[in-house]
Amino acid sequence: MNRADAGIHDGRKRRIIFHIDMDAFFASVEQVCDPALQGKPVMVCGGLDKRTVVAAAAYPAREYGIRSGTPLAVARVKCPDGVFIEGDPEKYVYTCLRLNMIFEDFSPIVERYSIDESFIDVTDSVHLFGGPVEMARRIKRRVRDELGLTRSLGIGGNKLLAKMGSKLEKPDGLTVIMEEDVAAKLHPLPVGKLFGVGGRTERKLRMLGVETIGQLACQSERRLQQLFGVTGPMLARAANGIDDSPVITDVEQPPVKSVGNGYTLNRDTRDREVLDRVLLALCAKVGRRLRKGRHAGRTVTVKVRFFDFTSITRGRTEEQPLDLDKEIYEISRDILDRIARRDAIRMLGVSVSNLIHGSRSRQRSLFDHVYWNKYRKAIGAVDSVRDRYGERSLVWGRLVRRSRREATDDDAERPKAVSGFLYPEAKR
């Protein structure tokens, strides 16, 4: 029995946290669906004819230097024989739910950290499964047997160590880093490998002569605070393997702070008609999500990225919270009007923040309340229809293709990514 299996540290019960990181998640799911893709450089993207990025690259594709976030055009050049697959988000969400159901059979304290990463606090259930390592093996086995997927699993005395552990050995790894292993396993690693150290922080640390996590651990919190502000002491604690953050289950998650959607156009455009349509689709999506979550927000923000990748973000705060598509759209359009720069636009984003939860938009003025009350009732009816018959059952008229010809000419600007507004063709 190793130290992790003993479950006792300095005479007190130690926390035992698992971090599970699915290996090349989306690509792995596609390889399970189509076994002929096993061993091939599979890359899952947002769309195959779009200016999108690689969302997940299988390990053979990584040998060509392709990572998540590599632009599709670059990936096609680097790996001409790659297998490019348009992603199916619903399939991956379903798989994520199945994974977490498996994890919940081992402990009720599961945090869905992202679609392909979860933390499990097994402190109080580990004794039921023969210790942490045996428990981890059982989880890996069930995931493989039931879903056909591989995953890397880190065992640690806290979330940080568990997460660092799952990154150390990939794919299909199992690594234990308890507090007493920090000096041997963590400190020799390059500082950029420390969870929470991004590219900019890494460059700054290297300029200061800090190359390894161990060297960072030797820095005083005071000095790091002077250099990095509030994150400085956190870096020092992380480098020493200290992390007291709890594993947060779904019901304990803090309320969302904002709801937003963005879309990269297939080609840069100044065409206001096209931009307005994309804006409407985004606002409709945001409004629907707000109402589904019973949120309403006072601040509407529009983000515009131009052809040269420079961005402008502008917001406006209203007195009353909003959750209706049209309200959000009118404000977004007004914000877009006020952005003086008229260069071709690459990407548009809309978000609503300053949220009030369990709320809905309120009367905006004394004079138009009859109109807005009627509008709210109509949108309520639309939501009910969509709840029952799907998001595509009712869409804004402006978002419906009028003809196949229009679909050909203009399809690029019709944001398929704004799922739920997939623009069925109108019948003539």
Binding site: V29, V32, P35, L147, D387, Y389
Partner: protein
């Protein structure tokens, strides 16, 4: 090559213990025997679940079929002919 199909098809399937198991299906004038269900997943279109299956049939060909519980039809969504 992956080919989008989106055609309604006839599927012979077993409904047992709350699970659906496609066994054979007709497409392109042929009856294909399912050799393995590689993967299955569920999505929702409104309140109605849709059951997706990635099926191996023929030599090494992969067929994605969907059981739409609202329309009560089977759909061949796409095929990957090896």
């Amino acid at each position: 090559m992956v080919q989008d199909v989106n055609e309604t098809i006839d599927v012979l399937s077993i409904f047992r213990d709350g699970r659906i198991q496609p066994v054979r299906f007709k497409w392109g004038g042929r009856t294909l025997k399912v050799s393995r269900i590689a993967y299955s997943w569920v999505t929702k279109d409104g309140a109605h679940p849709q059951y997706h299956f990635s099926l191996l049939a023929g030599s090494r060909d992969v067929y994605e079929v969907v059981f739409d519980t609202f329309k009560m039809i089977w759909l061949l969504a796409r095929v990957h002919l090896q």
